[in-house]
Symmetry: C2
Subunit: 467 residues, 2 copies
Amino acid sequence: MADSLNCDLKSLSPLQLFERVTEQGEKVRALKAGKAPKDEIDAAVRMLLSLKLSYKTTTGQDYQAGLPPKDLVLINNGTTKEEDEDLVDPWNVQTSNAKGVDYDKLIVRFGSSKIDTDLINRIERAIGQKPHHFLRRGIFFSHRDMDQILDAYENKKPFYLYTGRGPSSQAMHVGHLIPFLFTKWLQEVFDVPLVIQLTDDEKYLWKDMTVEKAYEYARENAKDIIACGFDINKTFIFSDLDYLGTSAGFYKNIVKVQKHVTFNQVKGIFGFTDSDCIGKISFPAIQAAPSFSSSFPQIFNGKENIQCLIPCAIDQDPYFRMTRDVAPRIGQPKPALLHSVFFPALQGAQTKMSASDPNSSIFLTDTPKQIKTKINKHAFSGGRDTIEEHRKYGGNCDVDVSFMYLTFFLEDDDRLEQLKQLSPAGNSCKKIKTCRFFSSPLLLPTQEQSCVPTLCCAVPFGNLKHI
Amino acid sequence: MADSLNCDLKSLSPLQLFERVTEQGEKVRALKAGKAPKDEIDAAVRMLLSLKLSYKTTTGQDYQAGLPPKDLVLINNGTTKEEDEDLVDPWNVQTSNAKGVDYDKLIVRFGSSKIDTDLINRIERAIGQKPHHFLRRGIFFSHRDMDQILDAYENKKPFYLYTGRGPSSQAMHVGHLIPFLFTKWLQEVFDVPLVIQLTDDEKYLWKDMTVEKAYEYARENAKDIIACGFDINKTFIFSDLDYLGTSAGFYKNIVKVQKHVTFNQVKGIFGFTDSDCIGKISFPAIQAAPSFSSSFPQIFNGKENIQCLIPCAIDQDPYFRMTRDVAPRIGQPKPALLHSVFFPALQGAQTKMSASDPNSSIFLTDTPKQIKTKINKHAFSGGRDTIEEHRKYGGNCDVDVSFMYLTFFLEDDDRLEQLKQLSPAGNSCKKIKTCRFFSSPLLLPTQEQSCVPTLCCAVPFGNLKHI
């Protein structure tokens, strides 16, 4: 049996082997906890030992719980990634491809699952309405255990949503809205509680700012988030600096996670070094803890083990891979995840929009005039090099930032398709390289053939601060 | 000038040089903060650069704030300490010398100051009464900045006391009482607030126990601590697991410390490795934070920068060396310290009494009968190998554990001296190697010439649980 097992195992990647060992370890623990018959436990332990041996043979390393094999670990370590690999971690997104990060490759590297037509159809059946265009257009493209959430929903079992924001500046930009807009929709269709973590402590630790400034940014950002229109009876927004000092359950979960994650692991997952401060090193536990309902006894009446669903951009996945590894070891359910693509910078999809580079970003505080200027001045154009070429081939939607923004913000599928089809023929613009053929997402065109952006849905976002 | 300076500096040890650089760095910061004249600042900066150069020449390493040179660092790393050096860190105390740790050497290695006659006399003048016998007998033997505390006291400026306990078991032993008994005396004579931290989170992280068990031990230990009789209007005892979730100020100070200490530093100070969990790695900040009055806004009405005095056993000093390094960088005063020797295990002064080895310890829950049995069975005797030798030379007080205990608990100096003098002549005991010539500290002798311990002050401690 061991031979045929080893034979099967040879076809597995180091990561798949790692996951097999982890699963088997959990199985052994469950059998022991459930006081299963001795021979059953013994068989499971033998299997575990075989798997560990295979893992060592394949990777040359001893299996260490929670420490994935090198090829998985490297995804977060820019210095050692392969030449043509995209850099994606909680602090950096960079690719050499003008069309943006290769998300199919990322799914394989991160070990998540693609949101395919079957899953989207299942969501549609469950909620009885058309899924959000973020799902239909692959903006939320990857998941972990979304099936379990749907099982829970269909069986009328409770679950809750958790998302968050690192308040690194006073103003949020439109890219920051993506998880919140989607989370608002999820809350509406599933009618569930939502917790929103503002990691002001993280920003204090990472940036050159005071505790007071980080907390101020958290408050300011909270206003923008509130303006998205969450259910006020089912939404809890908190600053870490605040909530840690007022919650009976939050710190207990943090310290539980901190006991079950080593420096080796966070080094592998986040690329921390010996020169990093101990605050950064232990922070991942603080982002992990809201995945457990016992962190919010006031919301769940002390009820533990309520399943959690986390909508977030995929660069946050390392935190939750770690959380999912720890969860069973502290007696908690693993959180499920829905991952979004990144919102492209004005300069192009090689990197995401970043608040620390004002020219890359459209802020929620920008006036319609400022937005128009930024789009005209900075948004990377899919226009061709000459008027002749442009008339002949039309604009290139795949790299045109304005068109990308429309895929995020223009809900009407037909209109979006129409705009795309218009590109070869309909453009009357003469200044091909300096203006935006496809218009801005915030400044939606009223006349498709004009290259002058006009205001359509700009006002709701531009005015969020005044709500 | 630089040459003569370098000449002077050559006579300094790496540690002394390190401290000179640190001091000079603080001086530069203070000058800048105080907007001193430019030429004064420039001169101080030049001096700082010279000192850093000397440090590099002497140690071969660049100066790094908070990271002392290797020979200081090694005190906490058992694997690399010199052969004849005592091992002293927050988790281990071990020496090959039956008389116990060489505390004079420890003062030099730790860079603290000896509590000398001058300081004891100054304390006596300040409080207008005889100092505690722990001071008179060198049980509290080392300090940092105690002069500043006395300055504050004489100038009617406020200060507060901070001590603590790691609740690793249900029952405390008599050794644990030493800092508390002394702290109670300090509170009495100086009439100041006191905070007592119970690090249940630390014990959860370090030991194989649940959060709930650690918290339960904290509550149990609190009862023993309360029984010492602190001023109930000026004493705040807290569990970390509890207090972190209820304090507006505590976590903010923790995260400030965590931002200013790197993994390299805690590795150097505490000997952590890459395999340690991130909870252990970041814990030192949690023990540091109560050194700052802003961690207790409810006690100090939000007043910051009140000076803190920490009475503790010297094995806790690494935490506070780190704290003192961080303090000026987060705008807080450095805590002052008073260090005690270790309370010897029953088996002898080579190691300290440890709750995890019941045979080494007298617990506060032990009955008088159990205490008697433990003393008779386990306490290392200063008696000689034969009756003849014992009659001729008398017992050896320097290694006799029972006599050591008397130095801790028998307040009467004359009686202690009398007992010591009695040893050569007065012993009528026939079972020299199996009974205790000097009696137990808890079971003080009523008849000096008898080797049968009798109860004298045993009851107060033995019954603490029932108070």
